[in-house]
């Protein structure tokens, strides 16, 4: 029963710092003021909120990473196994059976570098898409900038990418690739891929809240997208009349640029510029759409 004297909150320190600010007598120096506008007042980007909650992004990313490896025997090894096994399969099919020509780059290295970046992109988009619906209990119970959910998915993906890159480095050394100044472009390519993944994930996740069948369409779309990108084949083998698909696909410039940076070959700056422009535009549009739909998330999720 109830006369539990230990529960008398005696252990709690009376808090002083945050309270003094609002005491009626002293003029509050730093009291946050929030105005909640109605749905009719239009879309608010609330960029200040993103900054105020920046630490939450870190914790959500950390959560996504930790949860993934809890209760797994091999933990981070899976991050390497996924692109590695796919690489071995494609090496067998395209390199040994079909004798695909990847010019100066040995096929295993060619495929692994493509699959590494693609796996990151695809996982980031997919987990980003599901992030809102899978965390509906948070969306309906507490406020925070919802864009952090798909963003954390990309952040967690970057950590996986870093781990899987260790094997890429080993492969590059094994195949005698000499590091060049072009390698400095690698982070930029990863950054573009992350931006593109963030824009896609943000857009699709916001739409998925209302249109649930997008989650059924997504795996199929991502698979189609992979085969429409130079992940496991060089764009040079694509016949002229199909080239335009690769041109409008922002992943083309990123993947080719990534490989060029890795092996010290010349960059196709036009393709990279297209990718960067598409990624930036998509992210801006996605952010706006996300903010516009965000207000209704809690009502329809």
């Amino acid at each position: 029963m109830a006369f539990d004297s230990s529960g008398r909150a005696g252990s709690l320190e009376p808090t002083s710092n945050s309270v003094q600010n609002v005491s009626a007598s002293s003029a509050p120096l730093e009291v946050s003021r929030v105005v909640i506008e109605s749905e009719e007042s239009g879309v608010q980007l609330s960029l200040g909120d993103l900054w105020a909650y920046r630490e939450l992004l870190y914790f959500l990313t950390l959560r996504d990473i930790k949860v993934r490896y809890k209760q797994t025997l091999m933990g981070a090894v899976w991050v390497v196994i996924q692109p590695l096994m796919t690489m071995l399969i494609f090496t067998l099919i395209f390199n040994k059976f079909a004798r695909l020509d990847t010019k100066d780059i040995p096929y295993p290295l060619f495929a692994y570098s493509g699959l590494l970046l693609w796996t990151f992109f695809s996982n980031a988009v997919t987990t980003g898409t599901y992030s809102l619906v899978n965390n509906s209990h948070l969306v309906t119970k507490v406020y925070f900038p919802r864009v952090f959910m798909p963003t954390a998915a990309v952040g967690a993906g970057l950590v996986d990418l870093a781990i899987a890159s260790l094997l890429l480095i080993s492969l590059a050394i094994y195949y005698g690739v000499r590091p060049s100044w072009g390698a400095l472009m690698l982070p930029l390519m990863v950054f573009l891929a992350a931006m593109l993944a963030l824009g896609t994930g943000m857009l699709v996740s916001a739409l998925t809240v209302k249109y649930r069948d997008l989650r059924h369409a997504l795996p199929f779309v991502m698979q189609f997208w992979m085969f429409a990108s130079p992940v496991i084949y060089p764009s040079s083998i694509v016949p002229e009349q199909w080239r335009w698909i690769l041109l409008i696909n922002p992943m083309t410039g990123i993947l080719e640029g990534f490989r060029a940076a890795l092996t010290g070959q010349p960059f196709d700056w036009t393709m990279i510029a297209i990718s960067a422009a598409v990624a930036t535009t998509l992210l801006a549009v996605a952010f706006y759409v996300f903010r516009a739909l965000e207000d209704t998330f809690a009502d329809v999720i």
Partner: protein, 426 residues
């Protein structure tokens, strides 16, 4: 007067409730909907959705340091209001201005992940509720100590018992220290000791001069803690002010049995050929009808009946039951004169005075009977659930509670004298 902490201006919230759809749709449904909608309109069904207004033009001004209880039936709009203030959803119309950091607790354990350890969850949940990392780090030991979870802090939360889970989750929330705290019915979960901790914490927050808004079905908590209560009905504020009056209003709309019950038509009145019940009323010490009674004040139950056949010895009986149906006591007329006097025909009002500091807090329901027990026992009237009322403790320190605010068991709550002496001074 303290400055305004929360200013709610003309806030309305509309929800779509589809008989057909849940909130979300699939493309196929949307296509089907686009095709069938014109036909439905032909058949005279208006629109695709039913719209309901969860809130209608709510206007409230809440001052810093106020502790406000929000009451109302399910679906009255309480949760919607809290969700708007917590920024989870936006109002359809109107606006809200908030001055100060808002912490909202709409559930216990927001953001907890079962696979993470207690430590990891303290950080995650703290960050989700709006705490800074340095703040969580600074308070981490306090949070763990308050929850009494030192031993299990490195264990995954999914292995916790539900009690442990709730303790840790609440402890994080209790250390949030917002300037404005918004709480849903979180007090309803957990065991008695946990509820006590919640109440203690709210007391402490109130003493520190912070603003609290909370939704509760616990009328005792509302009257005991708050200086102001708000009653929502169908999305509108119908009462706003002194908690006793607001709770009174809520209960009289809640219970069919109110403070008074009358039978204007003799033919419909309960009873038999000898005696019929005409009225029952609960009156405070000043004679005013009321459904809310202060625990340390006496009150009066009045029973008015018509005697149609003279010559019987009649005994009015009042039984009080609590909400769980436990009989608290039964009382009948013991007055020297009346109990031995054969009644002549006519109208009588019998009243019994119930002293203060007798009943425990809670809802009490009165059953009224009139019987004769000589020469044989005959029950003329038995009206169950005739009237209902609420006993509340307004926390003035004069009742059996003293300064204690937690749960107290028992159907009676006598104020007893305690004595103390120091046996062996050190």
């Amino acid at each position: 007067m303290p400055p305004t902490a929360v200013h709610i201006k003309n806030v309305s919230k509309r929800y779509r409730i589809g008989g057909v759809h849940p909130g979300y749709m699939t493309f196929r449904e949307m296509l089907g909907d686009a095709i069938s909608a014109p036909f439905r309109r032909l058949r005279g069904v208006n629109g695709d959705y039913q719209m309901i207004w969860a809130l209608r033009e709510v206007n409230l001004e809440i001052r810093q340091g106020e502790l406000i209880g929000i009451i109302g039936h399910n679906g009255a709009g309480k949760s919607t209001l809290l969700k708007i203030l917590s920024r989870i959803t936006k109002p359809t119309k109107g606006r809200v201005e908030i001055l100060g950091r808002v912490g909202s607790l709409l559930e216990v354990g927001t953001g907890f992940h079962p696979d993470l350890t207690g430590r990891e969850n303290v950080y995650l949940s703290g960050a989700i509720l709006g705490m800074r990392r340095v703040e969580i780090e600074r308070k981490f030991d306090q949070i763990v100590a308050f929850a009494e979870m030192e031993k299990f802090i490195e264990t995954a939360v999914k292995f916790y018992s539900s009690g442990m889970y709730v303790r840790l989750a609440f402890s994080v929330a209790a250390h949030l220290e917002p300037e404005i705290l918004i709480m849903d019915e979180v007090l309803a979960v957990g065991d008695a000791a946990f509820q006590q901790k919640c109440l203690d914490k709210m007391h402490e927050i109130r003493r520190e001069g912070r603003t609290i808004l909370f939704v509760s079905h616990n009328m005792q908590a509302i009257t005991r803690l708050c200086k102001r209560a708000i009653l929502l009905e169908a999305g509108q504020v119908v009462a706003d002010g002194e908690p006793h009056a607001v709770v009174n209003r809520y209960l009289s709309s809640n219970w069919k049995a109110g403070a008074e019950r009358e039978w204007p038509e003799a033919a419909e009145a309960p009873g038999d050929a000898i005696v019929r019940l005409r009225r029952v009323g609960i009156h405070d010490e000043h004679g005013k009808l009321t459904t809310v009674l202060d625990i340390h004040r006496p009150f009066r139950i009045e029973v008015t009946y018509d005697v149609d056949e003279a010559g019987h010895l009649l005994l009015p009986v009042v039984e009080l039951c609590n909400e769980e149906g436990t009989e608290v006591f039964s009382t009948h007329d013991t007055s020297e004169v009346w109990r031995r006097q054969e009644r002549s025909a006519g109208r009588y009002t019998s009243a019994v005075i119930v002293p203060g500091n007798l009943l425990a807090e809670g809802t009490l329901i009165a059953h009224i009977s009139v019987m004769s027990h000589y020469p044989t026992t005959i029950l003329h009237i038995r009206e169950t659930n005739a009237v209902a009322f609420q006993v509340v403790d307004s926390d003035e320190g004069k009742s059996a509670r003293g300064d204690y605010v937690g749960p107290m068991p028992g159907v009676v709550r006598p104020l007893l004298k305690w004595t103390h002496q120091s046996e062996a001074p050190k």
